[in-house]
């Protein structure tokens, strides 16, 4: 799966949880889920579960804790998909 496709799917997943739409308009690798998109930490759990379903992968606690930006999420998804 291309990076672009991963990012496109990720953007669709996060959209319902985003509170700051400017952040969504400028969706890129260094976009921070909490600060730029204002997704609260409880909803970030829902994002992660939606990512698991969308990409058919399992995300462990350590990966979850390291998932602060869109780029972090993309790397984790790529790593899990290649396993």
């Amino acid at each position: 799966m291309s990076e672009k496709e991963i990012l496109t799917r990720l953007k669709t997943i996060v959209k319902p949880y985003v509170q700051r739409m400017e952040g969504l308009n400028d969706f890129q690798e260094n976009t921070d889920f909490l600060n730029d998109l204002e997704i609260n930490s409880a909803n970030l759990v829902d994002v992660v579960l939606d990512v698991e379903d969308e990409f058919n992968i399992e995300i462990d606690n350590d990966s979850m804790e390291g998932m602060l930006t869109v780029g972090d999420a993309k790397s984790i998804i790529q790593r899990k998909l290649s396993n």
Partner: protein
């Protein structure tokens, strides 16, 4: 089940659980009777006491999310049962009024418990088994920041 009751982090006047009826890792059921003496009936509403929706939500959360959460934590045998918890979201429909003296039964089913977050689909029934409210409530265990 008595153990769960004892571990609930509430006390009067903000404990809205009398009894846990059933519990397993996917669901829980409990009861509470709204005593006519509860203080909020004096003001909600003036001369027309009805249980406030926020209190019904609280009752559903205490039984359905916190009660089930305590059971799940006990199963993990985590020692830190002093864990701090917080409600993180609630979306509830209120279908029928609950008057003073009513005994309600709360039934909750786990949607998921992942990354310290427990999300449940919760229903409340009155003593005649009418559905009075239903919704989705979630809570999280907070990391110790001390």
């Amino acid at each position: 089940m008595q153990e769960i009751l004892a571990q609930l982090p509430y006390s009067s006047p903000f404990l809205f659980v009398d009894e846990i009826l059933n519990v397993d890792s996917d669901s829980i059921e409990g009861k509470f009777t709204f005593s006519p003496d509860l203080d909020f009936y004096k003001g909600h509403f003036k001369d027309n006491p009805v249980t406030p929706g926020v209190i019904l939500t609280e009752c559903m959360a205490q039984i359905g999310v916190v009660g089930l959460g305590i059971y799940l934590l006990n199963q993990e045998k985590k020692d830190d049962l002093k864990a701090k918890i917080a409600m993180t979201s609630s979306e509830v429909e209120y279908l029928k009024p609950v008057y003073p003296g009513e005994t309600v039964t709360v039934h909750s089913e786990k949607q998921y418990y992942r990354f310290e977050k427990l999300k449940c689909r919760v229903k409340m029934f009155d003593s005649e088994n009418n559905l009075v409210c239903r919704g989705v409530i979630a809570g999280m265990i907070l990391k110790d920041r001390s």
